[in-house]
Each structure stands twice: as structure tokens, then as C-alpha cells.
């Protein structure tokens, strides 16, 4: 790019639009679909419900904020395209919101519809919670990654059927908890999630299991449905989510400048004022004038 020939604010606007486009195109993607390595994964329970295949998800525009942290920024453009497939499948008028009409979806997480016990459920990352709609992942030692977000289950019946829950996934190990009823000493709790019993452990992984040079793995999560849930209140659930990425397994070198300082310095020879050297000259001229 020859900056010398860019002279107007119109060009600045065009560059901005280009940056927006390039920025999104170059960001990383995490995907977990029935066609990806190992498939999408499995949902256990909640409670006595059997296992269900997990819905497809593709997370776009994943950006690194540090060597060990990456974030999926919150994006929501309302009813405008693109809308997430899960919303398209569960409503006639996708508007970018869960059925309570006030919780926005992070549309960078392209989630498919989730069929749970024969019912289509919209599951997505909800805005406005502790994570402000972002999905945040951190690499820890011994090939462990944790992923957190505010996950929302939506039965499509309005506010009563919208269940928000903190999502804390790990590639290490998770233990299925007791039902909330049992934990509180109340009768009627179901201390299992499908075939898993409370106390059972499920294991994830992180590495390059398919040997394609890219990071992949499995995230495991356990938790309980809230007691306020209209659906299996208090029951434990678990899930294992297999995922692929386009992130190089050995990491991405970022921030290294192409070209050379010597080549770039040639621009100084052609400029009327080459900074920062010109700064002293310009400031001293004015200072001298003031002295006169």
C-alpha cells in the first residue's frame, strides 16, 4: 500500500471498511459440527433424559488478546442477516434475541438448533451477563484450556422458558454434581444425567489429535439446571463438545512486522518532513520566532 497517494477522508473511510472486512476474515474459527473431527459431541440428561447429540456450532471472529487468551467478541445486528441457524429454525421472525425479547444473541457463535427430548431448543451465548456476551478462553499449563461464557437455553415460550447459566468448560475433567434437590436435602432429586451418575467424571482433551497441525480437543462441562427452570429443575447435566480450530497447534506468531526498517526509511528521504527528526526542527523554529 502506498500511503503517499491517499489524501482524503473518503480514503480513510474506505480503509476503515477494508480493515473491518480484513479483520473478520483473518480471525480464527472454532467449529464443532456433525461433519467435523469426532462430530459435535453429546449432551447427557438433564436428569433422567437420555443422551442427545449436541447441536452444531461454529464460532467466528475469535481474536487473541494475549498469548494465552482468546475472545469471541459480542456481535448482534438484530434481525439483519446473518442470523444464527438455531434461531431461524425455532422462530418465524428471527430478530437476534431470545424469546424473552430482551436477551441478545452473540451472533458470532453460529449455533444450530438443539433437539432435546424431541423438542427444538435454541441454545446460544447471551449478551448482558457477567461476560457481556463474550466467550472467553484461556490456555493453562499441561494442555488445559478453560472456556467461559453466559449460555442461554431457550424453550421458545418467552421469558419463563429462557434459562441463563454460567458455562465453565474445561479440557481437563468435570464431575457430575448431585441434583440441587439432593444438595439442599429436598426429596425428589434425580442424581444422574442420562447414563452418568452423580460423582462420575468425564474427561476432555487438548492437542492435535487428528494430526492436521491445528489445535483441536474436547471440552467437558457439568452443571445443574436452575431450580427456577420450567424444564427438569435442579437436575444435573453434562456435555462433551468436540472441537476443531484453524489455529496452528504450535501457535501463531503475531506482531512481527514484514519488510525492513531500512526499506521503510526510504520514505523519509522523499517526505518534506520526516518524523520524529522533523519535530525538533519545527518546534525550534517556532521557539526561535517567539524569542525574536
Amino acid at each position: 500500500m502506498n500511503h503517499k497517494h491517499i489524501k482524503s477522508p473518503v480514503c480513510a473511510a474506505l480503509i476503515g471498511a477494508g480493515l473491518l472486512a480484513c479483520g473478520t476474515a483473518d480471525a480464527f474459527t472454532v467449529f464443532s459440527t456433525k461433519d467435523s473431527y469426532m462430530g459435535a459431541g453429546t449432551f447427557f440428561g438433564p436428569g433422567k433424559l437420555p443422551t442427545s447429540p449436541l447441536f452444531d456450532v461454529t464460532i467466528h471472529n475469535v481474536a487473541f488478546t494475549s498469548a494465552a487468551t482468546f475472545v469471541t467478541p459480542f456481535v448482534n445486528n438484530g434481525a439483519a442477516e446473518p442470523n444464527v441457524p438455531g434461531e431461524v429454525a425455532t422462530t418465524d421472525k428471527p430478530d437476534g434475541y431470545f424469546s424473552d425479547g430482551k436477551t441478545p444473541l452473540n451472533e458470532n457463535a453460529e449455533v444450530g438448533p438443539f433437539v432435546l427430548n424431541g423438542t427444538k431448543v435454541l441454545v446460544g451465548i447471551g449478551g448482558g451477563g457477567a461476560h457481556r456476551g463474550e466467550q472467553i478462553s484461556v490456555l493453562l499449563d499441561k494442555h488445559t484450556m478453560i472456556m467461559t461464557m453466559d449460555i442461554v437455553f431457550d424453550m421458545g415460550i418467552g421469558a419463563a422458558g429462557v434459562v441463563a447459566s454460567p458455562f465453565y468448560g474445561t479440557t481437563k475433567e468435570a464431575t457430575l454434581p448431585l441434583s440441587l434437590q439432593t444438595q439442599l436435602g429436598i426429596e425428589g432429586g434425580v442424581d444422574r444425567a442420562g447414563p452418568l451418575k452423580s460423582g462420575d467424571k468425564i474427561h476432555g482433551q487438548l492437542g492435535d489429535s487428528n494430526g492436521d497441525g491445528r489445535l483441536d480437543g474436547a471440552i467437558v462441562v457439568t452443571g445443574n439446571m436452575p431450580l427456577t427452570s420450567v424444564f427438569m429443575p435442579g437436575a444435573p447435566f453434562a456435555l462433551i463438545r468436540y472441537f476443531d480450530t484453524d489455529m496452528p497447534y504450535n501457535g501463531q506468531v503475531v506482531g512481527k512486522l514484514p519488510g525492513s526498517v531500512a526499506e521503510r526509511q526510504k520514505q523519509a528521504d522523499k517526505a518534506t518532513y520526516a518524523f520524529p527528526a522533523a519535530e525538533a526542527k519545527l518546534v525550534s523554529v517556532k521557539t526561535a520566532e517567539a524569542g525574536e
Partner: protein, 285 residues
Amino acid sequence: MSVIKPVARRLRRLMMGGLLAAGMTPAAWAVNLWSTPTSYLGTGYFFGPGAYMTPTPLFPVKLRNMGFTSPQNFVTPFWNNGGEEPNVSAEKDFPPVDGLLSDGTKINENADLGTFTLAGARFLPAVGEGGEYLGQQMAETSADGNVTMVMDLLLDLGIGPKGIIRIPFRGTTGTVTVPGPLQNPQGPAGAAQAGLIKSGETLSGRIGDFNNDGFIDGTLVAVGVMPLSSPVYPGQPFAMARNFETDIPIDGAVFGSPGAVNKAYGFPPDEGATNGIGGGAKGKR
């Protein structure tokens, strides 16, 4: 040492968990850019607008929590938590400290800018919500290594909507040409100059590691014209040269590598890896 290390690791995990629970990324590890009176070569200077001849020291800048969207391009995301800390430095001179400009526009609080005094007038400079870049600061690196940075810069006199000047900022470490003044019905809005620099003259910046500290630094140059609606120097050209430092290693940094993270924690790179085994763990069923 053998006792301290595991404890330190647990503490680190606890802290990380706390940060995540609070919805915060660990700011200490994020990439930052700064330009202050005490940083390498100082902040730099603003020239003009128009026939205002005295070069004006630029306001301090600290851009935090920048994220890379590609190996060379990075974004300072829009973020605003109202009056809660951290707030931008200039707001202290323009109370109340509420994360807002005087017309109610939200400030991108990842871009911490100090008060700007130009031609005797004090401004609250800020990257504001909305606009061309949705309140973000975005940077692109071209094939020759020059970096171009864009954002919607707002200068707020603190008197409400009429005192807010919106300037599309495009700074580059490459070369820019000082534009002429805007035209109004009576002719040119002012002199064809940005202080000591004449319209049509060119400014070049630079980027590299000139202070030899192992991290990228340089000088961004930018030019523009005050909008005709500006309460000060309407339609008149300006130029600026902004010196900056970063904590981006000149040789680049390895992001997203579990092996590199292991090494940082004192483990062999492959500790805990499941590489090329096929099948993977399916968990206990």
C-alpha cells in the same frame, strides 16, 4: 521451591477464575500501546489548525486490551462501564466522571486519553461509540511493515453537542500529504497550511525498535481538516506526529500455543498433550 511452585500455580488459577468470573480478561497480559510525556520521544506534536502557528504538545494516550485479529492486524475493542473505574484520564478535568462525553456519547474506555489543550481551549479527546469504526480503534499492517491506524476521534469542549468535533483519524507510520482547507460559499475556509507545514507538503513516520528495548515503537503521522461545523478553526487543515511505544515484541510473540504456555509455567512443551493419537478421549460413559 517445590512447595512454592504448586501453590503459585493454584493462586494463579484462582486469580484467573476470579477474573473470568468477573468477565474480565487478564489485562496485564493484553497488548498495549502508549504515548506519554515520559515515554520514548514524548507524545509528539499537533500542527495547526490553519494559521495557528505554535506546535502543540499532543495529549497522552494509553490503548489497552488490544487484540490481534490476524498476525499483524489488531483492534482495540469498544468497552465502556460508565462511571466505574477505570475511566479515561481526561474525564477528571471534565466532571462528572461517567464514561460519557458531554452529549451523552459513550467513550471507548480502552482508549485512555489525557486532556488536550489547543490554542487556549481545553478538550476531552476520546474514541467514541458508533461512527465508521463502531467505537473501535483498528490497525492494519501493510506489506512494507507500515502500520495504519484508524478511529473516530472526538474532541469535546464539554458544552454539549455543539462543542463536539468528530475527526476521522487515520494515522500511519508511512507518508501523508497535508490537505488544503475546506471550501465554504465564501471561498477557502482558511489558510492552506497546518501551522508551519504547508498544504501539499508531506510527512513521514516510522516503525521499528528505535529505542532498542526489544519492542515495537515508532511515530504515526496524521493529517486532516477540521469540519466546517467545528466551533474552532472550521475547515482548516491540521497535522500531527504521534510518538508511541508498545509491548509488542519486535520479533513477534507466539499466541495460542499450549506448548509455549507450558514452557512459561515451567513444564515440558508436550506435557498433557494428546497429539496425533486419533480417536481422542470420549470420557466415561
